[in-house]
Symmetry: C2
Subunit: 164 residues, 2 copies
DNA sequence: ACTCAGCAATTGCTTGCTCAGTAATTGAGA
DNA sequence: TCTCAATTACTGAGCAAGCAATTGCTGAGT
């Protein structure tokens, strides 16, 4: 046993790296990352779109008839406005959505799905559901699933609470 | 009420976008993404490192004395080997780690933390713990927290199970 | 002993994002 | 009515990741 400051720090570092908190939180990040990667590659392979694009399409059909601006999309997807601009560029090029000037405010561009966007969305949603079912629902007992989603709601609420 | 195929598809699309599965899974991705962003920006601001770099440091102190290759880091962090190469490049430039040729296999580069890496890690771990405590532990009842982590273990197990 | 399939790390190129800065438009207060 | 701070979208530059191809090395089968 050596009691130099270095040895003390090494011990502290090992403690920190193996703490409960670190381990558990790592699990959350890792599961989410891997799940998203899995969905993304399935969608690219089978529908030619990214997971982010699917999230846009989901948002566009959340409340049919609602006018959705890029700003709203940016907020809902946790993207910057420039990221959103270029995402919509790509989706427009792919024929999935179109930009329509807002009648009420000439600064905003509303985003609308096209007919092609709709058929792609229907296929993509099926792929998405299949992967989610397999790796999110199936591994969990029904009880755990319910608790998990309520816990996640709490977390997003806490995060939304303050700025940053 | 119009019964054209288009109307049927619109209805299907709205149903898909509002399904339980989609909503719940979106919650998981969004919480994880936002939490990670929050941690990343706190770490950059207060310690000058990214969240990914912290994950490397955590891994390096998981089993002190263990030899860790870039390949192992890549697997544990869910990164490609090229991504890992450049990540370690940056960390080496920042003085946090150093590459050491493996004595047993001249293909592999072992990654070791430096003294500076250790002090940075200790500060970063404190920042990390604080954010995790605030937005992951505190919003959850103790009971929910325990169930959540066991559920996450199940998910990672399911994901690890098959290739992908 | 030699070959060769396979693995570790690296590099060039591409993608998808952020940040910082810009231009047009809006709406609230003097 | 006019002004000006805030807001929307967009653009250029930069960064961190992935994919594909390359290099150097290893170890198993002949």
């Amino acid at each position: 046993m050596n009691a130099t400051p270095q040895h003390h720090d090494e011990h502290e570092a090992a403690r920190a790296a193996n703490s409960r908190l670190v381990r558990d939180f790592g699990l959350l990040i890792k599961s989410a990352t891997r799940l998203e990667q899995r969905i993304d590659s399935a969608l690219r392979r089978e529908c030619g779109i990214s997971h982010t694009m699917l999230e846009v399409l989901i948002r566009l059909w959340r409340q049919p008839g609602e006018e959705v601006s890029q700003r709203q999309l940016a907020d809902d997807l946790t993207l910057t406005s420039s990221g959103t601009t270029r995402l919509i560029d790509r989706m427009e090029d792919a024929g999935l959505v179109r930009r329509v000037p807002s009648p009420g405010d000439r600064r905003v561009a509303l985003v609308e799905p096209t007919a092609e966007g709709r058929t792609t969305f229907l296929r993509a949603a099926a792929v998405h559901a299949q992967v989610v079912e397999e790796y999110f629902v199936k591994p969990l007992a029904a009880d755990d699933y319910a608790r998990m989603t309520s816990a996640l709601s709490e977390i997003t609420r806490a995060l939304r609470g303050d700025a940053g």
